[in-house]
Amino acid sequence: MSNKEHFKVAIIGGGPAGIGVAVGLAKQGVNSVVLIERRTQLGGTPQGYRKKSGSVPTFIEWTRARIVFGEELAQRIIQRLTNTNTKIKLCTHVTKVFPLEKKLSLLSPKGLQEITADAIVLAAGAREQTPSEKGWLAGTRTVRTGFTRHINSWLDNHNLLPVRKPLIIGSDLIAYSAAAKLRAAGSKEPVMINQRKRPVASLFERLFFRRWTRPDWRGGTSTINLSGDFTMINANTEDKTNSEDSGGDAIIYSGNLVPNTELALMAEMAVESQSRKLKLFKGQSMSSPGWFAAGNVLGGFHGAQWCYFNGKRLAKTLKQYLTKKVTA
């Protein structure tokens, strides 16, 4: 492995969006593309939702009008990548970014490396909002605190039920899918707490998960005060008129995605400081020339297939950008 490499396009993130960009670029006839993924396998978030009998499929595959397990969807997307010449760097972490030179410092088990590219795509996805970011929760730092991602790891990779009586903060599709998975695996009916009066998840989504779960809904909550010792948690929820206690043995922060824009922040590109959303320009380009973004890093909450197609569409813009650059 040489210590310095140059590519036409470098894609940061090997989830649906990043793969979408790579597949799209191959279709556009752009060679010399590198896909950088920090985990040991491609597929991003959906890859973590394993296919298991007795579990709950949670990903909508719009093109086939089916609801499938994340793993199945990820595998189909990855399959399309294998037909391309994209260079894949797994287990590779971007440690530094140089926006003007379009240079990335990478760290992998083989050591440090630097790559440059004509265009760089940030497809780093999003993560779930932490309790402090929410700003309406306080109290003890309880032991069993986790995100939906943790629920998937414990259930799907370790066959362990991480919680018997869950308290779920959030009410979008991710929250409902977590509730359904836990119920299917044998937990008690979760308590679902949110600031909004009505759940974020649509009626269709809620009806789908009704087979497994009918969460105890505590909408319109203005503050939560957590108390309790190690594994028993008491959430005192308050709205304008009354205060109510709900007991449980783990608290799960679900949904409310925050885009992973840290690399852009590190490079001092334009990011709104509170929401951490990228400031985007025409064609999903970022504030530094030659930098683009795709997928959930754009902000908001999008399904895996949306991200894949978003990445694929971006490939056209990239192709235009690269040709313009050559002629200029």
């Binding site: 760290l107 992998s108 088990p109 993560r127 402090s132 109290g139 032991v143 259930l155 190690f230």
Partner: protein, 527 residues
């Protein structure tokens, strides 16, 4: 070539965790007091916070049999982990008090101590900022007070001078005080470093052990007391030092120590993301009131910014003493915004709170032969404890010699610096150090926010104090402490601990037995 993370230092002390079967390896498990030897200890230190660990470290330089006991499951788990992490210069202490004297001595010793014990500190200096006329009038008194504390480099700054040093200082700043000797440090590593050297020098460490009783020997000469753990292990000792902090009152009741009253004073903090670091260059302090030093805004050694603390007096045993409140966090952010522009736009990544051990009878209260011959009570150590831990230990050792007849002869074999160990510290990155002889797993990240590799986590598991809980790993490596607060790495770190130690994954705990990460059962549907 020697690989990064393979070093094992020579360790003369014994380390045990009083944990149930399966929670740690059998070789680390405390089963009977015979494991500690039959000879009575010269000194048993109860409380492995920064004060207890500092004392253990200094005592380890002498030929003594010393035991460090704590009810929690790592060193520095209580108040020592939740504070402002400042290494104070003592400019604002009350002149002539023990605290002032100790801080003066500590300030001289810290730079050398930090390099010997490999404790990261950064002497960035502080600026006290006045935002009202009334506060501005207090500055000259504060300067005088600092000079009385021998902090001669403290001087008054004009508003213009402050703005030159702090471009983001609030418009309301009227003037201030430069305090060049204030530093930021790593509060976690301080306790750990002390304990690692102590352990290497032969101090025994027993963690996760609650003391339920003290049997006092009333013999006037050379009495041998016994401390009894809640699971009935009896440990013989000639002297006991109560450094139990907030638990000090309860422990004092067990040996009949004379009266003192602790009122925990809660301090809540907001931790801002690293993007806030560029807002400030120094530790920004408000003008203190009689009750509290006020809400400060300080960079941390890790590159974040902390804002806090509040000062809320709580009764002893209040279970909410380390709770955060929405009101409290709002207050600290308001307080911080008075000093710095743009602070409110920065995302808060975590909130925490700690309880200072405020004692009604005075701060730095030390009583010798309290309740029995050879028993020392130590309490009322508040926010300056981290700084003073080193000079307080020297002070105590001198007085232990005078007051309770502790014989001191230097141990020639003892080392006075932290031994090189499997885990060199979070600030030394395997692939960036001078001799890059890193393993493959040093290049495979586990914590993305702080860029901590699987290899570094595995190395920290092998460090001398054998950390086995998630929190212990977190305080050492900084994994789980970044902006995603464990979203990416929590389960993986549990997997690494389980993989490297053989502890079953459902027995991995956040901070000791009883705090298992998962409800201990198989998922029914997949069983």
């Amino acid at each position: 070539m020697e690989r990064f993370g393979t070093w094992q230092p020579k360790i003369r002390g014994k380390l045990f965790y009083n944990w149930p079967k399966g929670s740690c390896e059998e070789s680390l498990r405390f089963k009977s007091s015979e494991q500690l030897g039959t000879e009575p200890y010269d000194v048993v230190i109860v409380g492995a916070g920064v004060i207890g660990c500092g004392l253990a470290y200094k005592l380890s330089l002498y030929q003594l049999r010393v035991l460090l006991v704590d009810r929690l499951h790592d060193v520095g788990e209580g108040t020592s982990k939740a504070n402002s992490a400042l290494v104070h210069s003592g400019y604002d202490a009350e002149p002539g008090t023990l605290e002032s004297e100790l801080l003066y001595k500590a300030e001289i010793e810290w730079p050398d101590l930090a390099s010997r014990l490999k404790i990261p500190i950064d002497p960035i200096g502080g600026i006290m900022m006045a935002v009202t006329r009334e506060q501005e009038n207090q500055l000259s008194a504060a300067e005088k007070n600092a000079h009385a504390n021998r902090a001669t480099n403290v001087h008054i700054l004009t508003a213009k001078e402050i703005r030159e040093r702090e471009p983001n200082a609030s418009k309301n700043i009227l003037g201030g005080l430069s305090v060049p000797s204030e530093s930021i440090g790593d509060p976690f590593i301080t306790s750990i470093a002390y304990a690692e050297v102590a352990l290497a020098n032969g101090v025994d460490i027993l963690l996760g052990t609650n003391i339920s009783n003290v049997e006092i020997d009333s013999k006037p000469r050379a009495p041998i007391h016994h401390i009894v753990s809640s699971d009935n292990h009896r440990i013989a000792t000639r002297r006991i030092v109560n450094a139990a902090g907030l638990g000090g009152r309860h422990f004092a009741d067990k040996y009949g120590g004379s009266r003192f009253d602790i009122n925990p004073r809660r301090g809540q903090f907001a931790l801002l993301d690293k993007s806030a670091r560029s807002l400030i260059q120094h530790i920004l302090l408000p003008v203190p009131t009689a009750h509290t030093k006020g809400v400060l805004v300080s960079p941390t050694i890790f590159g974040n910014v902390i804002v806090g603390p509040t000062a809320e007096d709580l009764p002893l045993d209040d279970p909410t003493s380390t709770h955060t409140t929405i009101e409290g966090i709002r207050k600290v952010m308001e307080g911080g915004s008075k000093l710095v522009n743009g602070l409110n736009n920065q995302p808060i990544i975590a909130t925490y709170s700690g309880a200072r051990c405020a004692c009604k009878q005075g701060s730095y209260l030390i009583r010798y032969n309290d309740g029995g011959k050879g028993i020392v009570t130590l309490t009322g150590i508040r926010s300056t404890g981290l700084t003073a831990s080193v000079s307080l230990a020297d002070h105590l050792i001198n007085n232990l010699n005078k007051e309770v007849g502790l014989e001191l002869s230097l141990d020639k074999e003892a080392i006075d610096s932290r031994p090189k160990s499997a885990w060199p510290g979070w600030w030394q990155r395997p692939f960036e150090c001078e001799t890059p002889n890193a393993r493959e797993d040093h290049g495979c990240m586990s914590c993305y926010c702080e860029s901590i590799s699987i290899g570094e986590i595995a190395d920290s598991i092998n460090s001398p104090l054998r950390p086995r809980t998630m929190d212990a790993i977190k305080r050492r490596t900084r994994a789980l402490m970044g902006r995603c607060q464990g979203f990416d790495c929590q389960v993986q770190i549990a997997e690494i601990i389980s993989d490297r130690t053989g502890i079953e994954i459902n027995k991995i705990t956040k901070n000791g037995p009883g705090s298992e990460l998962v409800a201990n059962s198989q998922a029914e549907a997949f069983a």
